[in-house]
């Protein structure tokens, strides 16, 4: 066997070892990496199922004025069940059709409140302002207040939380 032959064989073995090591290393990395990514993202990807939440009697809603309904709901986050306050403004113009609006500002999530004197919703964080139907009338909020699907059963108002 000539010297160059032997060298060619050596290089062949070297390359084979290199490829085997890279291959096995890649497999091990994937075996850890893929479960790790799924594990970290898991809770973020969980879909919440819409549920009907009971707000109270519709008779409380005054015509033409957004009325605040507050209720406490239980939420499960991780391994902890917490009581969370849930607030909805309900508006009716005709006593038959109800609009249920979230009190979460569409800018960056502060809570808006109804200011009767000014006939509008006001957000204290960056002076966002909304009309009584939720449309933006001033400040940085990019879109109207979010609305919930709602229904009335036996004079009791329900909204669906997504």
């Amino acid at each position: 066997m000539s010297e160059s032959d032997k060298e060619g064989k050596e290089v062949g073995r070297r390359n084979f070892m290199k490829m085997t090591i890279v291959g096995i290393g890649g497999l091990i990395t994937a075996a850890f990496g893929i479960p790790a990514v799924a594990y970290v993202m898991g809770p973020a990807l969980k879909q919440s199922v819409g549920e009907w939440i009971q707000l109270g009697s519709v008779t409380k809603v005054e015509t033409g004025i957004p009325t605040l309904f507050k209720t406490v709901i239980q939420t499960q986050t991780g391994w902890i069940t917490t009581d969370e306050e849930f607030s909805v403004y309900v508006l009716t113009e005709d006593g038959q059709n109800y609009v249920a609006m979230s009190n979460v500002c569409t800018h960056l999530g502060c809570r808006v409140r109804w200011v009767a004197d000014q006939n509008g919703f006001f957000c204290p964080c960056h002076n966002g302002a909304f009309a009584k139907d939720g449309t933006v009338t001033g400040g940085p909020p990019p879109r109207p207040l979010d609305r919930f699907e709602s229904k009335v059963e036996n004079d009791i108002l329900f909204v669906k939380r997504g």
């Binding site: 479960p35 799924a38 594990y39």
Partner: protein, 219 residues
């Protein structure tokens, strides 16, 4: 392109020299028992990765520890796998490190000039056992609670200083939230930093001195 980048970096960092010293060093013709140290290192890396992932959800307080562990194993994607790897890896680690020690012992590889390698190894073994002891409490279930009650009581029977040691280990006379918190802190900060430091010294010595050959029959 990649080769150029490698050259450019090598001109400033000189990493090829380090690479050659670690992976292209001369080793005697050895056998599979010489892989036990590397196997220990592999499992140690497994413990580090899965352990870090567990801390993303685990909470070390009596109120939440158990529930968070149940959440990890039953609710999270691959949570059972991550915890399982960490759990079984812990046992594998002790077994591998002890086998590695036995290999070194029976081949006489602890002799001059490798005494310091052996001594760092002894501390590594103690650290590995420390990991097992502190980690066992963390799920905060019945088994964990009573195992640690017993384990710390063992420290308590030492003459004169026993009671003192027991209180230090528990952070008071009884197992409590304080015990859980200090076991957790030890398990994820004190021991890992110690282990990392010692492994670096250990491997530096292995590379500097070179690996011992398999002893001949009449040695």
């Amino acid at each position: 392109m990649l080769a150029n980048l490698g050259d450019w970096l090598n001109d400033r960092f000189g990493w090829r020299g380090i690479w050659e010293a670690i992976f292209l060093r001369k080793v005697p013709h050895v056998n599979w028992f010489y892989t036990l140290g590397s196997a220990s290192l592999f499992v140690a890396i497994n413990q580090a990765i899965t352990g870090i992932l567990l801390t993303l959800y685990y909470v070390p307080t009596p109120d939440h520890a158990y529930d968070s562990v149940v959440y990890i194993t039953t609710q999270l994607p691959f949570g059972w796998l991550i915890r399982g790897l960490h759990h079984w890896g812990a046992s594998a680690m002790v077994v591998l490190v002890v086998l590695h020690l036995l290999r070194v012992f029976f081949y006489g590889a602890y002799k001059f000039p490798r005494e310091a390698t052996w001594m760092t190894g002894v501390i590594l073994l103690i650290v590995v056992i420390g990991f097992g002891f502190t980690g066992y409490l963390l799920p905060w279930d019945q088994r964990a609670y009573w195992a640690t009650t017993v384990g710390t009581r063992i420290a308590g029977v030492a003459p004169y200083v026993g009671d003192f040691l027991l209180k230090i280990a528990r952070g008071g006379p009884e197992l409590s939230a304080v015990t859980l918190a200090r076991f957790f802190g030890t398990h994820i900060w004190v021991l890992p930093t110690t282990l990392a430091l010692l492994v670096v010294i250990h491997l530096y010595l292995v590379i500097r001195v070179g690996i011992s050959a398999v002893p001949a029959k009449d040695e």
